[in-house]
Symmetry: C2
Subunit: 449 residues, 2 copies
Amino acid sequence: MPLPADACAEGEAAAASRKTEPDFHLTDSASVHPADIAAHLENLSLEGQVSALSRMSTEDAAEVLVELDESVAVDVLESLDRDMAAQIIAEMSPDDAVDVLDELEDEHRDALLDKLDREDSEELRTLLNFDPDTAGGVMNTEIILLETHFTVDEAIAHIRSEMADKESPYYAYVVDSQHILMGVLSLRDLMLAKPGTVVGEAVAGQNVISVTHDTEQREVASLLSHYNFLAMPVVDTEGHLMGLVTYDDIMDIMHDEASADMLGMVGADPEESVDTPWVESVRKRLPWLFVNMLNSTLSAFVVYMFEGSIAQMATLAVLMPMVANQAGNTGQQALAVMIRQLATDRFDQKKAWMAVLREGKIGMVTGLVMALTAFAGAGFFTGHMGMGAVMGGALLCDMLLGAVAGGSIPLVFRALGRDPAQASSIFLTTITDGAGFFIFLGMASLFLL
Amino acid sequence: MPLPADACAEGEAAAASRKTEPDFHLTDSASVHPADIAAHLENLSLEGQVSALSRMSTEDAAEVLVELDESVAVDVLESLDRDMAAQIIAEMSPDDAVDVLDELEDEHRDALLDKLDREDSEELRTLLNFDPDTAGGVMNTEIILLETHFTVDEAIAHIRSEMADKESPYYAYVVDSQHILMGVLSLRDLMLAKPGTVVGEAVAGQNVISVTHDTEQREVASLLSHYNFLAMPVVDTEGHLMGLVTYDDIMDIMHDEASADMLGMVGADPEESVDTPWVESVRKRLPWLFVNMLNSTLSAFVVYMFEGSIAQMATLAVLMPMVANQAGNTGQQALAVMIRQLATDRFDQKKAWMAVLREGKIGMVTGLVMALTAFAGAGFFTGHMGMGAVMGGALLCDMLLGAVAGGSIPLVFRALGRDPAQASSIFLTTITDGAGFFIFLGMASLFLL
């Protein structure tokens, strides 16, 4: 638990005291952060969670619900009294509400939406229509808008009157009479501007950076991080401002996307976590295990071609997996470096192939070191220097191949329009196993038998 | 390149026009974002980068330098005129300056620090003493401080006068006369507070969340994301406020940490990228390749024990790698899920072992499906149903073992105080290879020969 010890202790003490003092309020000055309450609730049973949330004000309950793991939040919402659930949804910011509603059963979701006032329910229904993986699916629609004719002082007054209702008033967006996005001003810009400045002039000629509603959230994350923005405006194809994606949504996405590559690489679902139902995981992993089986059948066929050689010299079967395993690991190291690189921006074609060349050099040198080690080792243990030479030669060739293949596979996948990480490790193993067995057994058949 | 097409085009047009109009200024209203200029500069030669930066104002150059890849920034800084380099360093925020200075040769760094005014150079020297992986190493020391007796209006006036010099005035920190951190107020809190409120009272009883200077940056990132804070205050062991870690430093760290696990898992350095000098990569990867070699020697020894069986029946050598490979992939899927989970917070001992149980179930069911497939396949191709039965049985046992081992290895590593990801894939392969060969060859020797 990465909390400072005292914060943690205070959080637990407050949570504990709440059990005996049901009228404890989050808005008290000695407040506990909603994220800590959520962490505490996650250790309770569903009944405990529901009863704790029922005793909070709807504002507080909404704040805590946002911080719960999505699967827990959905369970709680389904078990709560429907009127209470609808009131909590109404208190949540639209982007957070949509995240949870998206996971509910259709029938339940419609029932909750029907209980909201018309404006809120229409807004949420619109947002629910966006693909959850796009900017439209994660955007927040509560924006502070400034008209071009406002002075800086009018703008500040307007923001002060509006900000209590808006999630994140870091920036105010300037739109023209057609609601087209003209520019962005931070609170800081406004506070530092000369009184009397008109906001339309302050943003004149500004090169506003925005995304369209169908931009993938991974790309939004990468842009937000590239520019160090706190929020990214989302526009439709005509440039009308639709909403904002804020840094807090993006922090979670960035973290997930980066570790998703690790799961994809070995043929697991990038969204899988220990909370995924195990039957679901079986369903998602099995197809890749079949691919892996098919691929290893190819390697088995290579070995089968040399069945005769192995029958003559069983030591070959002893050393053969070592060659393939070592090349496989070399290739996986190259694979991991390239997948990470492709997940960041600014990576052009030329640099990509330079990176493959770099892996080639690494494979050559590490292969040479391992080949000499294997030559000495295999020669010593089998007492047969020819075997050592074949083992070393095969290791060098296969490790070089593994490094180049590991570096290239993500690039080839990307060129084919596929996810660079998806099951890349499985295809790499096919290459290093197949080639490793073929080179080692082939050289042994030629030179030793 | 994940930029919206028009932003990109404008950026490049502006960059191109700058070449012919050397007095183009970044502070013009039609400005290009420093991050885009940096991306453009990274495609130039070192001479081009140095000459472009020399033509900018030191403020602009400082903004661009922060956005460059660290290795590029270091090269540029070493090639720039030293006086100019020192002026740029002076313009950078201290946390960014320290990041670059940390990478310079000692002699060069000292020369630059000597050119700064005394206050700046002392501050930077202090910051350079912190471990770069801790809160102290990434913190920013330019903070807006409020004294407890300020009224809200005095606080706003104070912030407006100070904010031009500070990096990120999202929050103002309230300290007592001893400089002990008492509370935090956001600009929003201040703007919404009743005029005349005294800040000391506004924060009374606040449960301030802070980290100490020696907190690992990974933990700071996790806390910042947990609480959705824009900045985390850093205090010394007595609670004196020392600095702030802001969200923009943390976004980069979070992204790196998550993908670092993927590299660590296969025995590459978690910091490695395609820009790492290849000789450096060889040095970092070789030790793990030796460990892998040693581990695969163990598996080879298992096969060696059954050399006689293989000499009698060479088909065993054909099918043996398939068993190990399939179990290895199953284990890696479990490994990736567990490593991702350990990288997020809120993961207790009980939940961890429930997760291993979950992997066991998945291994059992996928193992059963694959065993039946292998039974049919091996029986059909070898025309020997006994071989199919041995293959299927070995596959089921080894895949179950692989799933449980993949789920447990990260937990065991963590319990031993090691990084759950580091080289976990190598140790997993040892288990699945060794056990796979043993079970398959052992069962074959018992039942088929």
